[in-house]
Amino acid sequence: MKALKNSFLLTALMVVLLATTAVLGGCATSSSSPTPVVNTAPLELAVRVCDSGTPNCPGETKFSLGSINDLQVSVDWKNMPGGTHTQEITFLLPNGVVYQSVSHGFGVTEGALGSPTVGGAMPVAGTYITQRELTGQWAVKVSLDGTVMAMQSVEFQP
C-alpha cells in the first residue's frame, strides 16, 4: 500500500522531470537533435526499501542497526521506454553528504514500454554505519539516466 501511494505521488514528478529531460537533455553540436520518441504513458515508479533479509519486501522506513543486514532498495518501474537505461541509487547521510551509490544498467525492448524492477543494496551490518552508529534520517535518491526521479527517507535507529 505504501509503495502504491509512493507511486501515485511520484507520477506527477516523473511527468515533469521527463518533460524537462526532453527539453534539456542532449547537446547538439554540429547536427540537429533527433526527434524524441513520444511516450503517451507517463513513467511511474515505486520505491521499496527493506532489510535484505525481508522476503517479498513490502517497504519499510525504519531500521535498527542492531539487526539490519543490508539496506535493499527495489524500484518498480512502469512504462519504461525501450532502450538502454542506467538506474543509480544514492544513499545520503543525515547531513546530506553522499555515503555511497550503486548503479545498474538495464535494457527494455526497443519500441515497447517495460515494467522492470531494478534493485540495489547498501551493506550495513559490520560496516562503519554500525561500527560508528551513523543513525538518523538518511535519504535514498533514485536517478534514471542522470535525472533524479525520487527521494525517500529512511531512519537508522540505534
Binding site: T29, S30, S101, G105, P123, R132, D145
Partner: protein, 740 residues
Amino acid sequence: MKTWVLCLMNFALLLSVADLSPAREKKTVQKSVTDAQTRGGDTFVDATLVITNFGTTDPLTARAKTGNEQNALLLFDLSSLANVGVKAATLNLNVTSVGHNNRVYEAHNVTSLWTELGATWTNRLGTTAWGAAGGNYSATATSSFTINGQTPPFTMNYDLTPDVQGWYTGGTNFGTLIKQSSTGGNDATGIAFNSRENATVANRPGLAVTFLQQVSNLSASAGNATVTLNWTNPTPLSGSTVLESYAGVLILRQKDKGVSAASAPTDGTSYAACGTIGSNNDVVVFVDATSATSFTDNGVCGGLTNDHEYFYKVFAVDTAHNYSTVCGTATSGTGACATNASAVAPEVTAVPSATTQYQAAWVVNTLAASLAPPGLNPGTSIVTGSNKLVFDIKASTGVPITTPVSIGGTVSARAAVIDAADSSIGHDVVYVPAQDDFIYAINSGTGAFDWIVSPGSVPFTASASVQLKAFSSVGYTLAQDLVVAGTHNTGTTNANQIFGLNANTGAVIWTHTGAPGPNTGLDITSAAPMVDYVNNAIWVTSRSNGGTAQPSLWKLDPNTGTVLFTANLGPIDYGPTLAPQSDVMFVPVNGGALTAIDPVTGITLGSINPGDGGAKNSPAIATFSMPYTVVFTTNTQVWAYRFSCATTPCLAGGGTFTKLWGGTAVNNPSAPLTVFGINKVYVGGGDGKIHELDMNTGVDGKQRLLNTSVTVGDVGLDLVLNNVLASASDGRSYAFAIPF
C-alpha cells in the same frame, strides 16, 4: 557614500560581463609518445559477434540501430589534468568512412566499468556481463552528430562538457559510447573512425579540454585572530595552448563549516571583497589580480573570532575572470556549473586563537563519506577510497597526484598501499576490495589497473591484507605476495568466503568457503585480515550467526588456505591486533570483552570488559614487548590496560589485564591509534575532532577540529611527515601535524 560602500561590500558586482574571452588553457588528450594514455582505451562491440573483443582494432565502427549493431567505446586517461577546473571538452574523431547520409550518431556517457581488452557485446570485464548487452550508458545522448554529405576523412566532434565535468566532481569516468541514434533510418554500414592504435597520432581519438589549473601547495598558518594563506600559482602545462593569462586568485571563507562545494564564482564576473557567493553565504575575502602568493586574513569582512574554525577555498582566476571551477565558460555554449562545481578547488582550514591556534596540513574533498580511512605510503602518498573513486594524493600537500581512479563499487575500508620496494609486483600498488564484488589492484604511479578480479561474485566491505613475500619466513612458500580478503554476503550466515589471491596477477590461489556446522560456518567478515609473519598465518574475524555456536576467529595457512584453528568468541566486526612480538593477539568481540589469544595455540589467555557497552574497534598496542600496554575503546570511552603473564609461555587463563587509565570520555570514538615511542594516542570522535590523549595518563589534552557535527573515521599516522590523517562524514579527508 557610506551606503554605496556597504553595497559594494555586501553584493558581488558584475563588472565585466562583456568580456567573453575563453578560458586559459586548452589541451588535447590523445595517445602519443608523450602521453601513453595508460588508463585509456577504445574498442567497439558487435551484436553479431557477441563475445569477440576488438580492443586492438583500427578503425572502430558504429552502425545500425537494430539487428547487427556495433557500438564504439572510448576512454581517455585524464591524469595529465589532475588539478584543473574543466570549462569545456570536445571529443574529436577522424572519420574514415560513412554509410548513409542523414544518419545521426550519438555520444553517451558510459555508466559501468569496462576494459579495452575485456569488453564485448555481452561482457564488460572478462566474463562479467553488461546490464544491457551492447553497453551500459545514460539513455540521454550527451551530444550527437549528423552525417550530412561530408567526405571522409573528416573530423566528427562531440561536445562532452557535461560528462567530463561530472568526472571531475564525484562522477565515475567510464568513457563514452558512440552509437547510431534510434531515430532515423537504419544504417547497416555505419561509420568508421580511427582508434588509438592508428599509426598517425593526429588521426587518433582526441579529447580537447579547456581548463584552468588550480593553485598548488596551499597552506594555512593560524595566529591570534589572523590566518595567513600561502600558495603557488599555476604555470601552463606542457603541451597546452595558452588562451588567457592567469591573473590571480579569489578566496572564499566560511566559519565553523566548510565552504560549499556548490559555491562557485561565475565566469566572466569580477567580485569585490566581502560579497557572498552561493546559498551557503561563503564570503569573498580576497580578490587579487597581481599573482599574489599569500594573503593574511586579519579582520577583513567582519574579522576572525578566535577559537573558531575557518575554511578557505582558493580559486585561480584568469584575466577574463574565468575561475578554476567546473563550470562552462561564458563562451563555451554550456555555461552551467556542474554539481559540486567548486569541490575541485583547494581548501584548507585554520583555527586562530590567542593560545592554541592550529591549522590543517591539508584538506581533500572526496565528495563522499564512506568513512574509509586513508591508506598510506608514509611520506609519499595517501590513498583514500570513496564512492567508486580511489584518490591518490601527495602526502605532504594533499594535492592529487592523478585524477581519481574510477572503479565499479564503493570502497568502504582502508586501501592496502604497498611500496614498490616491498611488493612482488615491482611497483607501488594499491589493493582495494569493493562492494561490486571485485578486488582491484591499481598501479599507484599511473592509476592503471594491474588486474581486476571477482573471485566469488559477492561483495567486499572490508580491507584486503597483503602478506609480503619480502617479509615472510621460509614457511611462506608462495612465489609472490598474497592478497587476502573476506566476503560480506548477508545472504548466508555460514557460507562466506576468504580468498587468497596472487598479488601479481589476481589469480585465485586458494578459497576457504564456510559450511554449515558448529565449527565450519563462516558468517560475514567486516575487518581486514591480519598477517602474522612470525607464525606464518592469516587471521580473520567474522560474525557468527548472532552467537557462539560457530566460529568468529579463524587462523589460516597462507600457502593453502587450510584452516589451522578457529575460536567461537561471538560476533566480531573489528580486526584483531597482534602484539609486536607476535606472542599475544588482542581480539575485540562486539559488545563484549577484549580477549587475549595465544597466536600459536589459539588458547585464550585472558579477557577484559570494562563496561560501557563492551569492546569496540580494533585495539592499539603502545609497548614493544610484554607486558603490553593495550589501548581500546568502548561506546564512549578510551581505556589503557597492561597485559602481563606470569609464565612464559603464557598459559590458558594466565594473562592479567591491569587498568592503567580510563575511561577517558570521547564522543563515539573510532579505533585508537598509537605506536611505540610517540607517547600519544589518537582517536577520531563523533564530535568532529581528532583527540590526542597522553599515553601515560589518558588525559584528552588536545584536539584538532576537522568540521563541526561530523563523525571522524579511523585515523592513520604518517610518521615520516608526522601527520595524523582521517576521513570524516563531511566527505573530506584531513591531515594535521603531530604532536598537537
